[in-house]
Amino acid sequence: MVFIRTIIAIFLLVFTALLALPAGAQEDDSALRQAISGLGAEKGYSKLRQAIDVVVETGDPRGARVLDALAEGDVYRREGDGAVFIVSGRGKERNLIDPVTSEQVGTIAKSELKKVRVNNSVRRTVRDAIGALTLGAKDPDIRLSAVRTMIDNPDPDSLDVIATALEREGDDDVRTALEQARAAAILLSDAAVPDKVAAIETIREMGGQEALSLLVRARNAAGAEMRDATEAAIASVQKRLQYWSLGQNVWYGLSLGSVLLLAAIGLAITFGVMGVINMAHGEMVMLGAYTTFMVQEIMRTSFPGMLDWSLPIALPLAFLVAGSVGFAMERGVIRLLYGRPLETLLATWGISLILQQTVRTIFGPTNREVSNPSYMSGAFQLGELSITWNRLWIVVFALVVFAVLLYAMNRTSLGLKMRAVTQNRRMAAAMGIRTPWVDALTFALGSGIAGIAGVALSQIDNVSPNLGQGYIIDSFMVVVFGGVGNLWGTLIGAFSLGIANKFLEPFAGAVLGKILVLVFIILFIQKRPRGLFALKGRAVEA
């Protein structure tokens, strides 16, 4: 828990720092505004070009937008005071957009506007100016995104701009991107063959989907002498893309596997260790998810500033809620049914129906919205992979829960007692262990873990009364596949089923892939009725 709190704290710090940044950028608004008003004041194209240069000299990347609009013919001068606006819309009433803030500031009749006219030479100036403005921005991220647009829409005419930018550029990432942009532009220009071959090499190294489309464009445009080199580069890029898609499948598989692990790990205790078939396990997950929902609602209404803390607060609460329901179940029903596994199965199914209907009565049958906290929304790019934060967190979280549980089972006194009771109940009782108490606590632990899983699953799944039902069969499959009574088996079972599922999906489709996995498990159980990691020795017969 401490570990998670620390990470969350670090994230909060980073985010507040990011929020503080744009404040400094507001200052030189007036300089830019001055320069832009120059666009409307002058008459004649050469004067206009000078005015554009003035905008470039401010060095403010926001000026690029108004220049872009200028080239499109969307910049107008208001007849009354000569103020310059970007204008959108058609017909008599037009929308006025502030050229600096890009916000709509009002509407105006068309007759009161005068268009700022441009010709081809102005357009060329504008293009260079935009390149210079964005490429000359102070923030390397803005420069980088400017270069990325140039890579996506290569234009031989921008080679000069790129060359000047390359001379000035200090940031390594932006330099690399600029070189790639230059290569992309060279490919479409009428440069000499050796230059183009070098450019192909650069693009090939860049890799990815854009590189592929650039190369395909180049192949279609290229003459015979270039064809082989382009084809080779395309093949190489495609091969690399294949590896990435392999990596993507593995990642999706790990992500699904961690969800399965979370759902199944509580079951690995109640079913795997105690041998109790808890068909209401999915409902424990559902209770955990609804606890998260409740906590978030309370935070939203009472402490809106601490909304991001709702997950850390929901975790122990979900454990307690699901754990105490599990405790009550064990004491009230399951205790009376030990040694009759099929009856246990039916009774717990009945309890699951009751729990579902209770939740449905209280919260209604529709999906409840649980939002992602800031540190769990969004995604980041790793090579060609787009990794969402919530998926990454869930993988990490599943592994942490697994590790904690493993520790609890193998290193704590309660874990020792649990294992003793499940291995030889009478001997354990003879040694002074209160076996009924241990049974109840074990069951509560398994249910509590399911509740924690519900907190995580509320982030990626619909929180509805049926949430648990969707996981119950999968969880049993994982436990049975991995081998009963073995937490490691559950880990390996969850991840191998997750990855197998995701690798089958591209060929067979999502539903058929799932069916194939189910059929595989059914066949697998025939071969190894006690799972991948079967217990050996006397405990098996118990």
Partner: protein, 390 residues
């Protein structure tokens, strides 16, 4: 002769009585519906005929589950799959009977295939335009699935809870498969809009009456079959497998074949129940494969009393009547009731209504015998009791 012998052994008073009741209902209900005018106080409304016809199919389904669970001890949580497969086989026949009367008017292709832009009938739909073929498939398809599944499962000695869970996975996988549009079974809409069965309109009162009687007759045959089987030597073997599988194996029997036989027979019975169910409710869709449905069958059987013959029938009818009644005025209460039923039956009535009644009856008789002995009268000689109803 052997059949006669088996029947005589299997027919105790209760079985004869229940057969009589089932057949009487099978004749009386449709007759009262058709022959009496609507205003007559004994007239049975048509919706009651449809409802009770459904219950009779459920009763047969519960009886088939009882054969595997009560007699051989295999708790199948995927029994609804066999029911649904039988239903789909019948549904395919009924779809082919629609002919050019569908919305799109295609003479051969059912509507949903025209909608999916299919040009010709998939191979597995061939032959379903003939009733005898469809009737055969109603039994063959569930039987074959049960045979293949059971062959693998029982030979590798998958037992108890593991078997229950993989049967559940089986029906879940089938549900997912039938939900797919390109499986060729109508996707999630399933098969519906039936017109004719054997040339008679499915909507007609006479057809409904005939279907009702057919369901009652099928249930009666099922009762005969299970009671005869239960009373036979094979029935004893089945109970031996249920109570002490390892010991039965050591004596020299092959429990896996006993289980396989019961599993396949039960699947065929379930298939027939499904086939009779579909024309009466007028639709079959993949929801019938849902694992929850299969577990509901288990609760019917458990409520009535597993290992008895009339128990599952009573259980199926009682629970479903309760469901119809409750969902009528308090739908949200039904799941509470069903859940509570699961818990209450497993905790307080592990033998079900009929099983407990038999126990009570036996206890009463023992008490009477004991008292008689106390008074010095001779206890009547008790021979080996036929245990069919136990």
């Amino acid at each position: 002769m052997i059949v006669g012998h088996l029947l005589r052994r299997g027919l105790n008073r209760w079985i004869v009585l229940s057969l009589a009741v089932i057949l009487a209902i099978g004749i009386a209900v449709p007759a009262l519906n058709l022959l009496l005018p609507v205003t007559h106080p004994l007239h049975v409304p048509t919706y009651i005929v449809a409802l009770f016809g459904k219950y009779l199919c459920y009763a047969l389904l519960a009886l088939s589950l009882d054969l595997v669970w009560g007699y051989v001890g295999i708790l199948s949580l995927g029994h609804g799959a066999f029911f649904a497969l039988g239903g789909y086989a019948m549904g395919m026949y009924l779809m082919r009977q629609i002919g050019p009367r569908g919305v799109y008017g295609d003479p051969v292709l059912p509507d949903f295939m025209v909608f999916l832009n299919w040009q010709e009938l998939p191979w597995f739909w061939y032959g379903f335009d003939r009733f005898w073929f469809a009737a055969l498939m109603v039994m063959v398809v569930p039987g074959l699935l049960a045979f293949i599944f059971g062959w693998f499962a029982f030979r590798s000695r998958v037992t108890g809870v593991y078997l229950s869970i993989i049967t559940q996975a089986m029906t879940y996988a089938l549900m997912l498969a039938f939900f797919r549009n390109n499986m060729g079974f109508g996707g999630n809409n399933g098969l519906t809009d039936f017109k004719d069965i054997l040339g008679y309109s499915v909507q007609a009162g006479e057809t409904r009456a005939a279907l009702f009687f057919a369901s009652a007759a099928a249930l009666a045959l099922g009762v005969l079959f299970v009671s005869a089987l239960g009373a036979s030597r094979y029935g004893k073997l089945m109970i031996a497998v249920r109570d002490a599988e390892a010991r039965t194996r050591f004596i020299g029997y092959r429990p896996e074949y006993v289980k396989l036989f019961a599993f396949v027979a039960a699947a065929v019975m379930a298939g027939i129940a499904g086939a009779l169910y579909v024309p009466q409710v007028g639709i079959i869709n993949p929801g019938e494969f849902a694992p929850a449905n299969s577990i509901e069958i288990v609760v019917w059987t458990a409520v009535g009393g597993r290992g008895t013959i009339i128990g599952p029938i009573i259980g199926a009818i009682l629970v479903n009547a309760g469901k119809s009644w409750l969902t009528g005025f308090a739908p949200e209460f039904w799941l509470f009731a069903l859940g509570g039923l699961f818990v209450a039956v497993t905790l307080f009535l592990p033998k079900g209504i009929v099983g407990t009644a038999i126990d009570g009856w036996d206890g009463l008789r023992r008490m009477r015998d004991g008292k008689r002995r106390e008074r010095g009268e001779d206890a009547p000689l008790t021979g080996p009791q036929p245990e069919a109803a136990e």
